[in-house]
């Protein structure tokens, strides 16, 4: 009955196509809003410069502080960018956008996946920006092309984990302001990790938290890949954290979405 619809395709093909269409929409939002540009371009660079030039002189770390701090900055800024998925999704769910989408042949899962994909693309872009400027400031990466790819993979896994938790929060939150609380948490987690100072310098309680929270193995994995430090079991722990979070978050988001819309 629908005019001009192409012949039946697999549901998965449609899901990918719908996701890509909604990713394009989110990217347009980024490019057209001041907030988007601030968070994607300006904030990462300011955080990098602040750590290297303002705090870096006073902090004692193995090797130069630029080398030490870049993985932490990447995790801080890409995590914050990915966490904004929560507010963007809540905004869509509290307007007529979601009704239009649900009444259409497209899958609502594409809305989630579109926000996550857009978060991945924009935060990988900010991470590249941070690393590029850091190289200009003396960041002395020794990584092979393979190690660079692995570092991009690790960063992507982290971004996907945060963005999917953002989806869960975004679906669960009643207001955009409430969803915004998540970015706040994600922005603070890196400070209680090995991102900016070695965990040995922290008081015992914080140190125990820092060494067992997911950001520390993620940051240590990036350090090992980019700077050749000892990988140990960090890589394995980092991947288990990221995959575990995604595997938990996707069904949780689906459950909350059904509860939210099916009342």
């Amino acid at each position: 009955m629908t005019a001009g619809a192409p012949a039946n395709r697999l549901a998965l093909v449609w899901l990918i196509d719908d996701t890509w269409a909604l990713t394009g929409r989110s990217i347009r939002h980024e490019l057209r809003s001041l907030d988007g540009l601030l968070v994607t371009v300006l904030l990462p660079l300011l955080v990098l410069l602040a750590f290297v030039y303002v705090l870096g002189g006073a902090l004692r770390t193995p090797g130069s502080y630029v080398d030490y701090v870049v993985p932490g900055i990447v995790v801080l800024t890409s995590g914050y960018g990915a966490a904004l998925t929560a507010t963007a999704l809540t905004r869509d769910l509290s307007t007529g956008m979601i009704d239009r989408l649900r009444a259409s042949p497209a899958s609502p899962a594409a809305l989630f996946a579109g926000h996550v994909t857009a978060a991945l693309l924009r935060t990988l872009f900010s991470s590249a920006l941070v690393v590029g400027v850091a190289i200009g400031l003396g960041f002395d990466a020794v990584a092979s092309p393979g190690a660079w790819l692995a570092a991009i993979g690790m960063t992507s896994a982290y971004i996907l984990a945060i963005a999917w938790v953002g989806v869960v929060i975004g679906v669960g939150a009643r207001s955009v302001e409430a969803a915004g609380g998540f970015s706040f948490v994600v922005l603070f987690l890196p400070y209680v990790s090995s991102g900016f100072v070695p965990t040995e310098t922290l008081p015992p309680a914080l140190r125990a938290f820092a060494e067992n929270q997911p950001l520390t193995p993620i940051i240590e994995t990036l350090r090992a890949l980019l700077l050749g430090t000892d990988l140990g079991d960090h890589g394995y722990r980092a991947l288990v954290w990221c995959f575990g979070i995604v595997v938990f978050a996707i069904p949780a988001a689906a459950f909350l979405f059904r509860r939210r819309t099916g009342r």
Binding site: T2, A3, A5, R32, D99, R100, L101, A103
Partner: protein, 311 residues
């Protein structure tokens, strides 16, 4: 022929609050059903169930022969929805919105480009097609919203208060398009608070009150149900008033205008009333005959349903 939209004994409650209590409705293909009702009557809930957005408790709903609960995917390919709240994207342009929704409706690229251009023309938006929606007026947004609902040329359209808050020009544009659509064979369910809107657009009108359909019929039928035409007599000489009232025992006096008001059983009653007055030498300054309005229908239907309701 089976109706395009068929609702049978539909029940829905939120928690222990019953919202729809046994709705039966059938909308033949290519006709417009106007759904009237006070706020909180259940209009939006009914539209959301029909558009597959809400589950229901009991009964059945079929769109184009497909059940909305078991065959939601097929129903979604047939239905266009424009809700009370604008659901277009502020940061995209008008054209980008239509292309996005066209793509999500799984149209092919060439078709959706053509449809988008046609719809922008039809809704009087070509000049602003490539500007962001955030720069649009309220009327332009609503028109774009309806255009977005039509991007896949759906055979069934649900419009939830499509002209609420619109200026007269935008309202006329929407009315014209809605009429054209019905002429093209689109089946339309329209909820509205505006009685004149239902009067002008709807082939049939149903009044929903407290979750029940309290009356339905064409605008003419409903008006006949509430009663006869009304005759208003303005006397030339006010001293004739007592005599006039004595001649017409069922008449009443409108204290604000001094007019004598009576119900007319038909055209013959009009003739005999005027003849009697002329015979008695009572001169008239002005007369007015008015048909009952949809407002009378609405008031009668929603008031008379109150005592039946046990809450």
């Amino acid at each position: 022929m089976a109706a395009m939209v068929q609702v049978d004994d539909l029940w829905k409650s939120f928690g222990d609050k019953a919202v729809l209590e046994g709705i039966d409705l059938a909308i033949p293909r290519g006709t417009i059903l106007g759904l009237l009702g006070p706020n909180g009557a259940g209009k939006t809930t009914l539209v959301r169930i029909l558009a597959t957005l809400l589950p229901f408790d009991a009964g059945g709903v079929r769109i184009g022969g497909r059940a909305v609960d078991r065959d939601a995917a097929a129903v979604r390919r047939m239905v266009g929805l424009a809700g009370q709240y604008s659901s277009v994207d502020e940061l995209l342009t008008g054209r980008e919105n239509l292309l996005l929704f066209g793509r999500l409706a799984h149209l092919d690229r060439a078709t959706m480009r053509r449809f988008a251009t046609e719809l922008l023309e039809r809704f009087d938006l070509p000049d602003v097609a490539d500007q962001r929606v955030s720069t649009y007026s309220g009327g332009m947004r609503r028109r774009l919203d309806l255009a977005a609902a039509l991007i896949a040329a759906p055979p069934v359209l649900f419009l939830d208060e499509p002209t609420t808050g619109l200026d007269p020009r935008s309202r006329r544009t929407l009315w014209n398009v809605i009429r054209e659509l019905a002429g093209d064979g689109v089946t339309i369910l329209l909820t509205t608070q505006y009685l004149d809107e239902a009067d002008r657009l709807a082939d049939e009108i149903a009044v929903l009150d407290r979750g029940r359909l309290v009356t339905r019929g064409t605008s003419q039928q409903l008006k006949l149900q509430v009663g006869a035409e009304r005759l208003e007599l303005h006397l030339r000489d006010a001293t004739d008033l007592d005599r006039t009232m004595a001649m017409m025992p069922t008449a009443s006096l409108d204290p604000s205008t001094g007019a004598v008001i009576t119900q007319l059983a038909g055209p013959e009653a009009l003739r005999s009333t005027l003849n009697e007055l002329a015979g008695a030498g009572i001169e008239l300054a002005r007369t007015q005959v008015s048909a009952p309005t949809l407002e009378d229908v609405f008031d009668a239907a929603t008031t008379s349903s109150r005592p039946e309701s046990n809450r």
